[in-house]
Symmetry: C2
Subunit: 415 residues, 2 copies
């Protein structure tokens, strides 16, 4: 019997408790629930043997084998994880920010204490992508990871796409339905997804990067008109987390991007998550499913507890793969590009733009304009042939200074 | 260093050897290659230390740790696997037929010998679905597995769909391109897929079934006209392997079926594989990728070797989950149904058919007819409301005896 203590009894925590209690055949026993204001949290469906406490010391001093951290936040969470490991307990956490920032140190601490730390739930909720990369595809040499890792962004973009609403209105709707936080910055600016991408890079590409080193661009400038232009290119728009080994550097970014309509990425609807891993031997492998929600995330947590329990029973620890390679990180992907302009119309605009682009040695692929926009806020699209993003950014610096520009040009890669 | 002997040096075997040699960081060493007419097989890119042999006794008597079986076939393959296990070696195999038929015995023998037998490559080639079900989703309670497990069938059906060709011509083309065997029965009649489904049921639903207990229906009656009718229902046609727990029985079948165009199953193209697993907690999780081919299958094989190597290093064995539940197997799914008729036209046909269906208490959902078929070979579609497949089969026994029927009615579930 493997004894489990739970830190945090919110949506995920209570789902973890539910699965442990309902599935007696798994051989897990819940011993503690630790939460603030714990009296308010008590439920009647847990065995009376479970100790409810607000005091982490009760958990640390107990004989539990595994401490499950699903309380979120950075502090005191990280300190509590360290204390649990230092006290000779294994840890399962769903905390992407802590794993992305301090994962290697925590893994080292766990190894020193002959314990394990598992974090399958930290990326893509219930989708078993961490174990898939670490074990299922261990025989390949992966060089590229591409995914939709943030359900909130995908929900908002799907809503703009299918209902033709504005970004602000889609965000408001998502907040009303509980799909987006009151402060949605972490999600829409890509900070949540880049922490997850940093973890996937470490597990799948064996390469250590900090979340802060990954460029993150917001989805907030995307509007309904962009989906119309994207459709003309046989594409749709998704928040894409992409990392690719490129010689001695890592190309990585989280940003809104155009994806082909026939790509699996285009078909990820609502709050679903999807990860595509590409290896030199096996090609593309796809993992998809529910990226968030109490129950799916709890499945990932419980699967990790079971992996630790199985290993403990066999008297060993699951080997942690610690990424040792540190690469320079760049967002300078070479792709086709989507430039959407909003201008105050007058003669000579295309001539000015094409002169700047041509001076930067950038080739125009197409110029497309949807009818019926007012002259003072005229939108049109220029798509560019394949070139480095940095080249486009250089050109845009000059372009955005032009007097006919109403808004800065919206620039996205076309994948 | 984990020492590996290879039985079989065909497409998969040589890919396994290639990965082991190229990826020195994995800590695997190839010691033997065993194959018939081995002189003909010798390559110059393997280290000179590798022993080439036609004699299995050389492998059994050697000090190798893991025997990799990628020679295929049933005999002498199964006997060689048993001999390797009995000699205290772990085994990795890609052999679905042997695992589907004798998996439990082989796992028991491995346990007795304190060894492991791994078979991740036996289902869906490079897609890590066995480890995904066994470990990544261990915390869920799965009740349904649905997949596209045979690349040959999917290729043939995709070809009929996109080029409007006949089944015979699509099969011929697939044979010419090497996507189908000279004798394609195993694939098109569903025998290959049902062996894989039996393995997935064992690993994912914890339930022991023999391949022979699973109904398999051929895709050979499918023709271009069926894709046209399917499209009218917003569907396409795929060979679907489906198993679902239903109280104290297991519903399972491998058959051509209509799937909604917006389902992930509909978007599996060419020889790709896809598995959807559904659990009571985590909902639907999808695994997709290359289901066949030397390199992808070799990735699955090498991942299994690495799992054994890691476990050996830690001084334990990966726990095998042995399915103990034996359930009655039925193909009596309750779904909507597609009935495609080919008749010699005369008045009163719909009246006769609807009389029989109504007597069997089956409700008609729609009757659709594509224009322009000759009166002597007139095709039309009747779709039925949800009911058990057995009920439809009863009605079809009477219907197929009617004098205006040119061919037996083609019956498929609509999923």
């Amino acid at each position: 019997m493997c004894k489990v203590a739970l830190l945090g009894f919110g949506t995920v925590g209570s789902s973890v408790a539910k699965i442990i209690c309902e599935r007696e055949d798994m051989g897990l026993r819940l011993t503690h629930v630790c939460n603030r204001n714990v009296a308010r949290k008590k439920v009647d469906w847990l065995p009376s043997s479970v100790i409810w406490t607000e005091n982490i010391d009760d958990v640390i001093a107990s004989e539990c084998d595994v401490v499950v951290e699903v309380m979120g936040g950075l502090q005191p969470t990280e300190e509590w994880i360290r204390r649990a490991l230092a006290a000779g307990k294994s840890v399962v956490t769903a905390n992407k920010q802590i794993i992305a920032r301090s994962g290697p140190e925590l893994i080292a601490l766990a190894q020193e204490m002959k314990q394990q730390i598992e974090f399958g739930a930290s990326v893509a909720g219930g989708v078993p992508v961490i174990s898939g990369l670490h074990e299922g595809l261990a025989g390949d040499k992966l060089f590229k990871i591409c995914g939709i890792l943030n359900g909130t962004c995908n929900y908002i973009l799907s809503q703009i796409e299918s209902n033709g609403v504005s970004f602000a209105s889609a965000l408001g709707e998502a907040q009303k339905l509980g799909f987006a936080e009151a402060n949605p910055t972490e999600d829409i600016d890509g900070l949540d997804a880049r922490a997850k991408l940093a973890i996937l890079v470490r597990v799948g590409l064996d390469c250590y990067v900090t979340p802060a080193s990954i460029v993150a661009r917001s989805i907030s400038p995307i509007d309904a008109i962009d989906f119309e232009y994207a459709k003309l290119l046989n594409c749709t728009i998704r928040q894409i987390s992409l990392a690719e080994l490129d010689g001695d550097r890592l190309l990585a970014a989280v940003q809104p991007a155009l994806v082909q309509l026939n790509s699996p990425l285009a078909r990820v609807e609502g709050s679903q998550n999807l990860v595509m891993a590409t290896g030199i031997y096996g090609g593309e492998t796809v993992f998809g499913g529910h990226g968030a929600g109490g129950h799916p995330t709890a499945v990932a947590v419980v699967s990790d507890i079971l992996a630790i329990a199985r290993a403990k029973q066999a008297g060993h620890r699951r080997a942690a793969r610690v990424a040792e390679k540190t690469l320079a990180v760049s967002a300078d992907f070479k792709t086709k590009h989507y430039l959407r302009f909003m201008v105050n119309d007058r003669p000579g605009i295309i001539a000015s733009l094409s002169a700047i682009l041509s001076k930067c040695e950038i080739n125009i692929d197409s110029v497309l304009q949807k009818p019926a926009s007012p002259k003072s806020h005229l939108s049109f699209l220029i798509s560019l042939e394949e070139c480095e993003a940095s080249l486009v950014e250089q050109a845009l610096e000059q372009i955005n200074a032009l007097d006919f520009m109403v808004d800065p040009c919206l620039h996205m890669p076309i994948l």
